[in-house]
Amino acid sequence: MDGQLAHILQLAMNGAAIGSIYALVALGLVMTYKATEVLNFAHGDLLMASAFIGWGLITVAGMPFWAAILLTVAITAAVGYLLDAYVLRIIVGQPQFAGVMLTIALAYMIRGGVSMAFGPTSRTYPTPWDGQTTRIESIVITDLNLVIVAAALIVTALLFAFLKGTAIGTAVQAASQNHLAAYLCGIKVKTLNSLVWAIAGGIAAVCGLLLAPIALVDIGLWFVVLKALAALVLGGFGSMPGAIIGGLTIGIIEQFAGVYLPDGFKDVMAYLVLIAVLVIWPRGLLAEAHGRRV
């Protein structure tokens, strides 16, 4: 394999790893958006908070790695459930803007709460994959990146199996398409919406725990939600496969922009893509089949 091709594959692999995280974050956003029509700006902060919880459980409480991860996911899912059931339920029926404002407010509260509880310093926790790499021909991949891609695949597969294969999953889809019709069919719309928030919270926790070993456990982790918005828009807002494809594409575009474009483009590439897609091609890659208002 010649050097140039190996280099490109290497970049694509790194991009796919970070892109998997964007895709998972975007997936959480799109789920809550479809269920309750609230674009959850607090998603990134849930992710950040769960990274801190994971750090606390692993290094302070000394729990085994896997147990800590499961507990963190459970805690964040519970927070997601309670947020929808007791906070966001109050503003049902108000314009979308109210949901944006409320989730931004929640984001601030979580961010403030976490920095009050943990202080401004960054930290890190040990993972079973620290410093290990795998070689495939001439491409070197850190095991962490492999784990990220694998985790993203597993979460996505589980989610699709849940949505397509189980009765509750079908009910969730029905509820997110039409609340009233679902309610008249005997579906418990309120509980299911909260359940969707819980699932999204769990996914956020997985993302936080995967992202923390790369980017440190830090307040700034919430920023990933902005990249996920770009992924969401690129993929077609409100489409779950679109969110995944968009996330991967944004991750790969960022990696290549870092190498082939002038210095500084890597940081803003996701936002430039977001603006360009919305201005030129608002439907995105995989738009929903029916017309939608942008």
Binding site: Q96, R111, S115, L272, L274, I275, L278, V279, P282
Partner: protein, 358 residues
């Protein structure tokens, strides 16, 4: 609540409708005119800052409160105003020309950001503006030949028609004058045909278009006006800060502006000023409160962020009309005293309404 009883079309456009208004606003101006000579210097500086934030908040209010276009990236226009003004001033351009130039540049960029608003609205527009402000912040950090990059750039003192307005009290009056002019200008704009078109677009774009309002044009116009006014706030803020770094114009400032508009009460100029005063005073109030609070709470980093969030959440949940609505209710209580009923302002039962396929 006093409902306006109009007997002619001109009633709506009058600046001071009731004799009491004249008294109230005249005394307010009088108080603001004596304040800098009475209060300690620190507070004069704080009030000047509140004036500047009020101008920025008014700028966003035109867009979000009146036209219903959400912008989560308005700090970009403040930054453009501030940096363009500083750059022109260092080139030796006189203050007034430079300020106008900077505002016009902000308005021009507002036009460019407003054009997508014809096609995208709601959440999508919020995302476009958010992304735009992040891009602007990065550009300011990188374009060091003009902006000084991350190390920053210092701002020359304002010479208005040969007078140095850089002192604390002169600058206070400069900001007060600009704020008053802005309010008058926006009041005139919004009380007239343009303002009614804006409100029509906010309440129902389809209905507005059906009534023959050129919705695309008015949406872009709202962006231009908003960017111009916000750029003006940037010009003044540059002199207030005296040293500009890109970090000062980040997402936090955008969010503060949105907070001001929402907490103040969407759809009223008065609300924009209430919101700016409350949010502008909050950091000072928190630092004053800290000695009273137990050290376990006050010593914490992040208390301010948490309180910002908590206040916004409480307003969105329990008083969506903001301080302005609360103020109207209080006035109604006073005016109709023994007859006031709590249910007058009770919100009806609400159901989920989809904005997806509208």
């Amino acid at each position: 609540m006093r409902f306006h009883y109009d007997t002619s079309y001109l009633d709506q456009t009058r600046l001071l409708r009731y004799p009491r208004d004249k008294l109230v606003y005249a005394s307010l101006l009088l108080v603001l005119a004596i304040v800098p000579f009475i209060l300690p210097r620190y507070y004069v500086g704080e009030i000047t800052y509140l004036f500047i934030m009020s101008i920025a908040s008014l700028g966003l209010m035109v867009l979000t409160g009146f036209t219903g276009q959400v912008s989560l990236g308005h700090s970009a226009f403040i930054a453009i105003g501030a940096y363009a003004h500083t750059w022109l001033m260092t080139l030796g351009v006189p203050f007034a020309v430079s300020a106008l130039g900077a505002c016009s540049l902000a308005a021009l960029i507002g036009l460019c950001i407003g054009l997508p608003a014809i096609r995208v609205s709601g959440l999508y527009l919020a995302m476009v503006t958010l992304a735009f402000s992040i891009v602007v912040e990065h550009v300011l950090g990188r374009w060091s030949s003009v902006t000084g990059g991350h190390s920053g750039v210092s701002v020359p003192s304002p010479m208005v028609f040969g007078l140095n307005m850089g002192g604390l009290v002169p600058f206070y009056f400069l900001c007060l004058a600009v704020l008053t002019l802005t309010i008058l200008m926006l009041h005139n704009l919004l009380a007239d045909r343009t303002g009614r078109a804006f409100i029509g677009i906010r309440d129902s774009e389809a209905a507005a278009a059906g009534l023959g309002i050129w919705t695309a044009g008015y949406k872009v116009l709202a962006f231009i006006v908003s960017a111009f006014v916000t750029g003006l706030a940037g010009v003044l803020l540059a002199h207030k800060l005296q040293y500009l770094t890109p970090e000062g114009f980040g997402l936090i400032l955008s969010m503060e502006l949105v907070l001001m508009v929402v907490i103040g009460g969407l759809g009223s100029l008065r609300g924009a000023i209430f919101g700016a005063v409350l949010i502008g005073l909050l950091p000072t109030a928190i630092s004053k409160l800290k000695p009273i609070l137990p050290s376990a709470v006050s010593g914490q980093f992040g208390l301010e962020t948490f309180l910002f969030g908590a206040i916004l959440a409480l307003f969105v949940l329990f008083e969506p009309g903001g301080i302005n609505a609360r103020w109207m209710k209080f006035k109604a209580l006073l005016q109709t005293f023994p007859l006031y009923r709590k249910d007058t302002f009770r919100r009806g039962r609400s159901y989920m309404r989809s904005e997806r396929y509208r």
